[in-house]
Amino acid sequence: MARVRLESIQKKFGAMIAVNALTFEIAEGEFFSLLGPSGCGKTTTLRMIAGFEIPDHGRILFDEADVTARAPNRRNTGMVFQNYALFPHLTVFENVAFGLRARKMPLPEIKQQVHEALQLVEMTNYVERPVTQLSGGQQQRVALARALAIKPSILLLDEPLSNLDAQLRRSTRAELKRLQRQLGITTIYVTHDQEEALALSDRIAVLHAGALQQIGSPLEIYTAAKNFFVMNFIGTSNAVPGKVTARAENVLSITIGQTQIQCAVANASRFEIGAAVQLAFRPEHVIVIRAKGSSNDSAFTARSTLPFIPPQWGDVRATPQVNFPLEGSQGGVADTITLPGTWRTAEFSGTHWLMHFAIADRPCSARMTLEQAVRYLGNDFTTMLPGEAIQVEIAAHALTVFEA
């Protein structure tokens, strides 16, 4: 087991900068994910850690040892490739034994270790099978066993689940996590799937265009995105453009279309007066409300006569360790912010309804329960006509202002 440290790593391919000024440290036994869209540099970073690419600048350290230019076969990392890269001409046994043979281990010990590794992934019954006769999930397990058999100090996983079908992916994910905890091995996991990263990782590094966007626990990344890219990449997010018209110590006045709103911001002084900004909020932090009398639903009385059901916060509020940058209402700013919007469509997504609407011509969405939908829109909400004026209520604490 080892710590991994990257110090201002840069890698160019021709004129294209694949990875730029990347610095982070991974603790011993940590499950660390590199998350980002394709082409963000996550795989290049992993390949530099494995030794397949040499960084142009910077250093890579395993514990105290500088391994920046060390040959891949002398790094003692175990890697699981996206397509598994099992040797098609060898059996399961020979695949798993490959790394041990490279270490010139005596045969009895090889047999012992191969057996142990296959036991970990519950594949002992397949020892003598040619790998070409295994299913995708079984190949994935053999690849993992092969990487673990050499007792690596670091486990490198390059989108190992992306070739499995959805159901298998979920169960393998849980098993991977269990195995990693059991072995306590430092693990670096490359993925473009935010759900995987959130479910598996101790910490996540979000990469975009070769640059580190944010690094933190899944909760921090989800609830306190540092910029709009992270906020939009992790989960989904709405963005509405606005302009700063005034600023107090912790409060910004922002114009959106014709509407003026007050918005609590942790560090308002970084925004200039007149600066263009993006207001970002997640669909689960919004509800849309119809004006009274606009529904054919005779029972619909709109919200003024009903107690307000607050938008869902998700589960995040129940977790005590999380520090929200914008906690509750501050200095005379309301709990909710109301904006005028235009209705588009309602879409059923299984557990929820996804309401599509526009604010200042920007497409947005809200995630509402059926109960909320009936209460705020009337029971005929599925037949609402596009273009109808609505009100959009956003939980003030969940609204984030980014520089545009």
């Binding site: 920046t68 076969n73 099992l86 490279a102 050499i150």
Partner: protein
Amino acid sequence: MRVTDHLKRNRLSWLALAGLFLLLSLVIYLPLIELFAESLKENGRWSFINFQRFFDFNNPAYLRALWGSIAISVLTVIGSAIVGVPLAILFSRFQFPGRKVFGVLVTLPVLLPPLVGVLAFYFLMGETGIIPRVLQKTLGLQSAPLVMRGVPAILLVHIYSFYVFFYLFARNALAGLDRSLEEAASGLGASRSMLWRKVIFPQLQPALLGAGMLVFMNSMASFTAPYMFGGAWRFLSLEIYNAKLNGDLALANTQAVILASFSLLFLLLMRWYGRDHPTARGSKGVALPPRRVTQAWQKVLLAGIGSVLIVLLLLPQLTLVLIAFVKNGTWTWQILPEQFTFENFVSVFTSRDAAEPWRNSLWMSALATVCGAVVAMLAAYFTARPRHGRAWSHLLDASVMLPWAVPGTVIAMALIILFDEPYWFTAGNILIGSAAILPLAYFIRHLPIQFRAIVAAFTQLDPALEEAAQNLGAHWWMRFRRVLLPLLLPGIITGGMMAFVIALGEFVSSILLYTYSNRPLSIAIFSELRLFNLGSAAAYSVLLTVLIGLIMWLSQKYGGDRDEGLSG
């Protein structure tokens, strides 16, 4: 520490790359450059006199040879297309009795060494061939009819061997066509002829272009057919040989340069043209099964065409087999041979003299193939895994493929010009006249085939496999031995077998380079023919054909496309 580690890792591979380029420079570039340089010299001084001699419009004998080569090549391309493309359509679009058997037999001629093919036609339809004699006798004519000589004979032999390129290319292209495009066109109301003109043919164009290029270059380079049937006609490949025989090396040289230039020019032209005509590929159209012919008269017609085809294809071979059993010197004025014997076959195993060409061809071809496999493997590695930059791998690719574009006569001439004196890299030996020159020529000529086969195997090989091996701690030798070699072996075998088989029957450069002590099979066949030992010549040819068939069968069985790749 960090930099040196990285450099050390690269040093070995840079060294290998440099060694490879050195070798290719010595055996490919240096001879060709020397050939070119010598053509620009007169009595050791720079001069254009040789080219002025060639392009002398007052005495256009040499120009006529160039014109003859081009004309025969164009005619061959047209003829091969006329035979090959309809056959491809027939076999890929229609289901009829005997389709499978015919389909295999149709590709037969490409396996034959050119000399064997030419010989077969010579016995069948040549000056004293069976068909003209039989016709003359039965019809009671003054002179033998249907005698093939000159341009028609060459054309016939060329088409017989080269239509296979059109057939294979067109058949592959037809199999890869997206049928939904045809369905769409039909849905839009296109007639059958419009469908072919506007939809199918434009999509076949790149394949036909490729086949046309191959056929053109092969017939430009063709030596054997013009040599046997040329008569008064002049062809460039033949003129080179004649000039060399007459001791006019300067002329032979210059003609070789001109022939090579035309071949390369044509290749570049076609490449350039092909680049502007890409096709939409990679469609997901499902290939429909061939149309079943139902009506009786259609069945009869197609099976009839097939049978005629088979007779035409096999007749030359059967003639060879027949002649192989003829006692030497007994078939002179008779219409058909009358005395038969096993002598011609037995002597190969009993007479030292008859067995020697076999021994020579086998060891020279084997040596060339083994060396070729090693060099091709190394070159394919650097081409498929451009670890030192794409520029180097492109240059390497082009260098290895160069001998493919240069006619065999030219390569032989280049070797003659360069290796008539000792060099440090030949350990002070003069290679011309030594036993080493033929294996070297075979090696150079057939390196591209081996290289292509291994590159093809490489493209099916996931680079992640090598990385996985390295990640697991394997150093380069273990990666090569345990991962690369076993997975590339089918490609190495396929390419090696092809190269070996072609080398066994190689005639074009052999005839310029052989000495009596290392005379290969093709030269033995040729000299038996000259001595009018027709039976012996045919027996050599038949045995060679059988051996080639055997090797190809083995190679199909143990090499080839065993797709075991996991990655999808």
